[in-house]
Amino acid sequence: MSDASLLAIRDLHVTYATGDGPLPAVRGVDLTVERGQIVGVAGESGCGKSTLASTILRLQPSNATVSGTVLFDGRDVLTMRWGELRAVRWAGASIVFQGALHSLNPVHRIGDQISEPLRIHNPSLADRASRQRVGELLDQVGLDPQRARSYPHQLSGGQKQRVMIAMALACDPELVVADEPTTALDVMVQAQVLNVLSTLVRERGVGMMMISHDLSVLADLCDRITVMYAGRVVEEGPARRIFVEPLHPYSAALSAAFPRVGDPAARFAPSGLPGDPPQPWLLPGGCTFAPRCPRAAEVCLPAEPPLTSYGEERSAACVRIGEPDAPSVEPASGHVS
């Protein structure tokens, strides 16, 4: 193994060609995932987080133009040859897609669906060995190995989500990308699934990128969080700190959307963010968040603020940080590219 980061995305741009003209979905994103680390990506629908996920394995739609680099274990996924890419998709990284609950085939037993990639990958694999492996995988995600004989309709939502995770783990990936893995689940089941995921990362040292709009879930589970807005990173830093003392007003809004139960300030004061995210083909000039920003001022309008570092491995893209009524953090030197 090389000493390079497991996943290093540098200056990634993804633009879709549509009937209405070019649609920039991701606009210059940097992101790093180390082994044994969970990195959260937060943002609303349409902020480019799902596009980011599919680009990691070059699964983006054919009308997308991609530039920048996606280094998986030091090798660039975007330029590698087919054979190499296949190897990465087989055993290097796997994605649990959003809404994947519906992608289980209703007429096959879940055991057969989990073992399918194993058997394609290794046709000589004996039936007994493959059954045993399926049992191990189900056990890992907290399901009874007997469940292998069930059909998808016999499982609840949480169980299906765990089956999806077991499928993603079938080929021992080094990186797992989970796109909204718990969105449709109840609190208790969500806690169960999140437990399974974090145990896997801690015990097996895989890297994980987890995408969600729920900053509280990410804060609980992740080591670092990247907050995206309109295709760009607006804040990046240690998970807890972003949730508790966000620098960027957008992170603050996301954080406040999920109140701490017991916090008197949140009683009868749900906090939201007016307006919808901008349409990617109609991005406002200057800071793209300014039209919805409670702290927007004249200085926000001339240009999109660059991602600036604010000490202790934190950075944010807002020119108003440090100005009156902002969280008190000393600006550190230099720009992060």
């Binding site: 609303e44 629908s45 609840s156 939502g157 949480g158 169980q159 109840d186 609190v187 208790m188 089941v189 969500q190 806690a191 169960q192 437990n195 709009h213 729920d214 900053l215 509280s216 879930v217 804060a219 609980d220 589970l221 949730f243 809004a253 996301l254 406040a256 959307a257 999920f258 109140p259 701490r260 139960v261 017991g262 916090d263 949140a266 009683r267 009868f268 004061a269 749900p270 906090s271 939201g272 963010l273 007016p274 919808d276």
Partner: protein, 342 residues
């Protein structure tokens, strides 16, 4: 005048495909009045959506009754229509609950037309629709009249549904998971809207959710459901800061933002409602019983069924043998007689 919708010993059953009887609601008392926000909290399978549907007459109870302003609701088409004029349900899934072939205008005007409210008003239908859209926070309303659901964002669809319910000027609103499918930033907006409707129109709101943070945000009172029963109810501050029932405690401990509580992750899921456990229905998963904390009442937990928790809006109560034993009271402060185990 305060309006009041209440359930008394409500029991709803379904027959599964294999012929077994699933008891989705197993005796529920609950009361919602205009001007208050009540949160009905529980996991999927707890029966909370069935209760919401039964309250508006969409599910037929096999026992117990629904009362509107104190009088029993009979199931004649006329009585149901009259109830649905006063109590409106906002369904869970905003993308499926709007007819794809109807414009926003038609969807919102539907209630006005069904209840013939335009002729009794000095405003035109268009004005009433515009007013409903505006009070749901969709401005300017005219710009949305002719949109189709697929042209709206998730938050807008949810608002259109709320506007459709507000158009008939109800006294109570039942909202089933109003924000679960929405983005974080829209969530607060919709919740603020519900609170504002209570301030401005004196609306009562029953909000059905699995999200305790939501209940903390907007609810005056909270009722926690488990497997067809209310297991704990009371003022939101008390229930969420000093939960009594081990189930509520476990639910609260896994809410991501709460750091001070050690997460108690329950194994498995809510059992199948065709096989409700004997004794306390929560005992097979109860962390207090498993840890030996409830040793002294363990026998009752396994064998003695708990009575239906009263729906009276005062006080904090829970259906738990352990809590009763600690308080030295008879199990659960209820006036109902002990029911026979199923």
């Amino acid at each position: 005048m305060t309006a009041e919708l209440s359930a008394h010993g409500l029991r709803v059953e379904f027959t599964t495909r294999t012929g077994r009887v699933a008891r989705a609601l197993d005796g529920v008392d609950l009361r919602v009045r205009s001007g208050e926000v009540v949160a009905l909290v529980g996991e999927s399978g707890s029966g909370k959506t069935t209760l919401a549907r039964a309250l508006i007459g969409l599910a037929r109870p096999v026992a117990g009754e629904v009362r509107w302003n104190g009088s029993r609701l009979d199931r004649s088409a006329r009585a149901l229509k009259a109830l649905r004029r006063q109590v409106q349900l906002v369904l869970q899934d905003p993308s499926g609950a709007l007819n794809p072939r109807q414009t926003v205008y038609e969807s919102v005007a539907e209630g006005l037309r069904v209840h013939r409210l335009v002729s009794g008003s000095d405003k035109t239908e268009a004005e009433l629709v515009a007013a409903a859209l505006a009070s749901a926070g969709l401005r300017p309303p005219e710009s949305l009249f002719l949109r189709y659901p697929h042209e709206l964002s998730g938050g807008q669809r949810q608002r259109v549904l709320i506007a459709g319910a507000l158009a008939v000027q109800p006294q109570l609103l039942i909202a089933d998971e109003p924000v679960s499918s929405l983005d974080a930033s829209i969530r607060g907006e919709i919740l603020a809207l519900l609170l504002r409707l209570r301030e401005e129109l004196g609306l009562g709101v029953l909000v059905v959710t699995h999200d305790l943070g939501l209940a903390w945000n907007i609810a005056d009172r909270i009722a926690v459901m488990y497997l067809g029963r209310v297991v704990e109810s009371g003022p939101t501050e008390e229930v969420l800061t000093a939960p009594q029932h081990p189930y509520t405690q476990a639910l609260l401990s896994v809410v991501p933002e709460i750091e001070e509580l050690e997460p108690v992750v329950l194994r498995g899921e809510i059992p199948d409602p065709t096989r409700i456990p004997a004794g306390c229905r929560f005992h097979p998963r109860c962390p207090a019983l498993a840890s030996g904390e409830a040793e002294e009442v363990a026998e009752s937990c396994r064998t003695v069924p708990l009575s239906v928790l009263s729906g009276e809006p005062d006080g904090h109560r829970s259906a738990c043998h352990l809590v009763s034993a600690r308080e030295g009271a008879v199990p659960a402060s209820s006036t109902e007689t002990e029911e026979v185990a199923p």
